[in-house]
Symmetry: C2
């Protein structure tokens, strides 16, 4: 099991790579057979090829991610964070939950946000 510090650093790296538009860095955080459900309730992206395609598309909108509160760990191989994604005047309120393999890579990611978590400024 990765340490709590390792897991939290990986979640921070997820935000940093996303904000830097670093697709390789972002995809490199996941295992080859990881599963991404973003948002929870939508069809999952299974495995690195689908995950790469998903984030290549996601990075195109130029969203900026920022934590709403400090990242939370767990008593096993999981961690979670509340953050906001800002795209122009639009803010999306999200909570991500990641699970990990022993090497500290994400085996799964679930993004919790609903239609009512999109906030339009002004």
């Amino acid at each position: 099991m990765p340490s709590e510090a390792t897991m939290k650093a990986a979640l921070q790296a997820y935000l940093d790579n996303f904000n830097a538009g670093n697709l390789d860095g972002l995809v490199g955080l996941f295992t080859d057979d990881a599963v991404v459900e973003d948002p929870v309730g939508a069809p999952a992206h299974n495995g690195k090829d689908e995950i790469r395609a998903f984030y290549a598309d996601a990075l195109k909108n130029g969203a900026r991610l920022s934590l709403s509160a400090p990242i939370r760990g767990s008593h096993t191989n999981a961690a979670a964070m509340a953050f906001e994604a800002k795209v122009g005047p639009l803010t999306v309120r999200i909570i991500d939950v990641m699970t990990f393999n022993d090497a500290g890579k994400f085996t799964s990611m679930k993004a919790y946000f609903g239609p009512e978590d999109f906030i339009q400024a002004g």
Copy 2:
């Protein structure tokens, strides 16, 4: 599937009932066969009797819960919230994820926090 507003109201009711020390109100938010994993990584509490015993004990410490950021929904029967539990000088940073049945009751609850999410004031 319950509406996003229904799910978010149930999470708020969880905080409110906890803060009011209302054990019946708290336990009444769950289905009879719900599963509570608090924290994630600890043995689960299965079904209403175990859940009642868990919260009867949890309420004894007089923790006060407050949201760290607005509650998030999802595109299916799940919602999540980042909050803090304060017990005297101790603060625990937590993210809870709940799933729901069609009647808007919790079928599961997972609480994400690790040993490093306990913050001692001063």
